[in-house]
């Protein structure tokens, strides 16, 4: 375990800023980038990296949600429904994490990121946006104004059971690996459940605060949520996501997806190499 000097605190702050801005751009918590930076880059055990990352995920989720509230991009009802299962998954994941080896967690991290990268590439050309604006959104659907196409978008939620199952897995993986779980949910909500990517990303960003809380509270109890590196990371992520949130409406969807897949592929490979040693 590295000793946290002011220099290391500054490096952790910078890592947090990088992860936070990427996370805000992609509608993720940023944890998927911060965990490998802390674990592979700075030598923290992956469970400590996960704990710190979960704390930053809460900060990002709260900031992004507060920033987007009022734009109707976040589907609050659908999000709160899915939180029932993500919170259950994350509490169980936080407990499980206390009994699993570090190498196993690294291999799981590699596997999860690889799967998500592949799904993202495979689906990068599909938008799954319902063009018919006369469609009724139903109880769980939503409508928002899309700045990219300059018109209102209405969608219905399809395959609710799929969303529920994936949310439970996302919550579970979230606590085990210190990611928000958005990286698991967003592609499925977009490709499988008919949510436009932006709505899926915003709703996921809203949900992951609660998801990460379920895991973070357990890591806090076990003493793995180290206050000093966590503080540096949280401040970094706050600065990074503040910046990322300001550029995101202007980026094209396909570029976002491919960027995400590329970064995940690299992360997955590095994590696998480490977990096999």
């Amino acid at each position: 375990m590295p000793v946290v000097t002011p220099t290391l605190a500054l490096i952790i702050f910078a890592a947090g800023a990088a992860a936070g801005s990427l996370g805000a751009l992609l509608g993720l918590g940023g944890g998927i980038f911060l965990v490998p930076l802390l674990n592979l880059g700075l030598g923290f055990p992956i469970s400590v990296a996960a704990a710190i990352s979960l704390a930053t995920v809460i900060a990002t989720s709260s900031t992004v949600t507060a920033g987007k509230a009022g734009q109707h991009l976040i589907n609050f009802r659908f999000g709160m429904l899915l939180e029932v299962v993500t919170a259950a998954g994350s509490v169980l994941g936080g407990i499980t994490a206390q009994f699993v080896s570090q190498a196993a967690l690294q291999r799981l991290f590699a596997a999860v990121t690889a799967v998500i990268a592949l799904i993202t590439v495979a689906r990068s050309n599909r938008r799954n946006v319902i063009a018919d604006t006369a469609v009724a959104p139903g109880v769980l659907g939503g409508r928002f104004f899309d700045h990219e196409s300059g018109r209102p978008i209405v969608y219905r939620i399809k395959r609710l059971p799929l969303a529920i199952v994936v949310s439970f897995i996302a919550g579970n993986v979230s606590s085990l690996l210190g990611i928000g779980g958005g990286v698991v949910k967003v592609p499925v909500l977009n490709a499988g459940c008919g949510m436009p990517l932006r709505a899926a990303a915003a709703t996921s960003a809203f949900m992951i605060g609660v998801t990460a809380t379920g895991g973070a509270v357990i890591y806090y109890g076990t003493g793995q949520l180290l206050p000093v590196p966590a503080a540096a990371a949280i401040l970094g992520v706050q600065v990074g996501s503040w910046g990322g949130l300001r550029v995101s409406p202007n980026l094209p969807v396909r570029a976002l997806k491919l960027l995400m897949a590329l970064v995940l592929g690299v992360v997955s490979t590095l994590m696998l190499v480490k977990g096999m040693r």
Binding site: F76, R77, T213, V217
Partner: protein
Amino acid sequence: MKAGDAQLEILIGRVLRLGVLTSTVCIAIGLAIVLISPHSSPRLLDVGILVLIATPAARVALSIVEYALARDWTFFALTSIVLLELIGGAVAALVFHRKI
């Protein structure tokens, strides 16, 4: 979307912003103190981190109240379950903490 939803959205935004602001200020000052004098107490840091962890739970609690006031019992029940799960997590954390 129902009429009360827009109001809840704004309320949730405010609670989250307040929680993050409070915790960020505590964390920033706490971190500065710890880095300047390494043997000082990291209490303010702990307060900041606890406020941060409690913020989404506070948002869930607020949603429970709002859905109860709107007599939306389906979502009252769903958000109540979420809060109970988070409380379950806190109980598990206390159990682990005792074992250290």
